[in-house]
Amino acid sequence: MIPVALSMDVVFGDIVPVRHEVQELVLWRDEEGMVHGWEDRCPHRGVRLSLGFIRNNRLACLYHGWQFDHEGRCRAIPSHPSLNPPSTIRTENFRVEEKAGLIWIALRNDAKRPLVPPAEGAWHGVRSLAIRATLAALREALVLETGQWRVSSDRLLAVHSPEEEITMVHMAVSDASARVKAAEWLLDLRDSMEEIRC
């Protein structure tokens, strides 16, 4: 599974765009606290759902206000208020898991990739940082041969790749009081990676 965001960065009311390789996704959290991960595209006119807003505990598209419930089913079309939208109008959904302070998503196109279970335990999110370096370079620097994450002492590091030349590093720590120090370490990592790249 791909770690795409820290849990603390997706609270109720937030609509979060996420990219991984060529896939564009939207994450949102409903009133019950469940996180949903869908293709970032309204099935109506193709507008990004990440531009949308939450109404009635549903994600609404900014363009025509079509509302999609937690299953991705269209439940309301404002221009046809009396219409019960057919069940075929729905978003493309992906399996999402929330573990170790991170949000992990299973993309359909990763059938060849082993579905490594996400890290376990109680972790406190520090920050997600974009580093201008390829995923391969980051893997080498973090000694991360396979998978998308590793635990190093009291730090959990997870990576995904929004663009070919940009890698997001998500960091969580087991001791909440160590967050500031861990964030400084992450900035040092960015500085050294980008200097190497120059």
């Binding site: 009311g13 979060v16 990219r19 807003f53 920050r127 940009i166 964030a183």
Partner: protein, 187 residues
């Protein structure tokens, strides 16, 4: 009553309107296209108090019913950075919106602004400081908000800036929040 001569599409005029609204300062708005170039102007029947966002925010901070401190020391440097960043952002945004053909609006300078903003917001959050200005929303936050709120006009991938997204959401929830074209009211 204070009167703001501003232009609806001007980011600095918006920041002045937002400041007045969040700080509960009564203000009338006059449309003045010159603000697009020179920035907004604040005055009343007696004369002009300030031209440009810096002078307007400074004047707001001196009003008797405003309880926000004017940034001093390191915070003043952050405010100056924010105002300069807003100028650069405004220039890039206008170029992008006025281009005859779509073009890549995100220059290296703009990327740097967003990275610095993200780093500052993230640091403040981890240190338990709710806003860039301290414990309550202040002049620094107001000066940088148009940059964060209008980022999509430059086609920036907001997935790279989680702290900026968090900041936008928090400002939107404040009582007295106002919008401008480009910042949707329905969120």
């Amino acid at each position: 009553m204070l009167s703001l001569n501003g232009w609806v599409m001007d980011e600095r005029s918006y920041a002045a309107r937002l400041a007045a609204s969040l700080l509960a300062i009564p203000l009338t708005i006059q449309t003045d296209r010159r603000a697009e170039i020179f920035g907004p102007t604040l005055g009343d029947e007696e004369g002009v108090y300030g031209v440009g966002l810096y002078e307007i925010l400074r004047h707001f901070s001196r009003l008797p019913n405003v309880d926000r401190a004017w940034p001093e020391g390191d915070s003043r440097l952050v405010l100056e950075w924010a105002l300069e960043a807003l100028e650069s952002f405004a220039q890039a945004r206008r170029q992008a919106l006025g281009a005859t053909m779509p073009e890549k609006a995100e220059t290296d300078a703009i990327t740097l602004i967003f990275r610095m903003l993200e780093d500052r917001l993230s640091k403040a959050f981890l240190e338990g400081q709710e806003w860039l200005s301290g414990t309550s929303v202040g002049f620094i936050d107001i000066a940088v908000f148009p940059i964060a709120g209008l980022a999509r006009d430059l086609g920036l991938g907001m997935d790279l800036y989680p702290a900026v997204r968090r900041f936008v959401r928090k400002v939107r929830q404040l009582p007295g929040f106002v919008t401008m074209p480009g910042i949707a009211a329905c969120h």
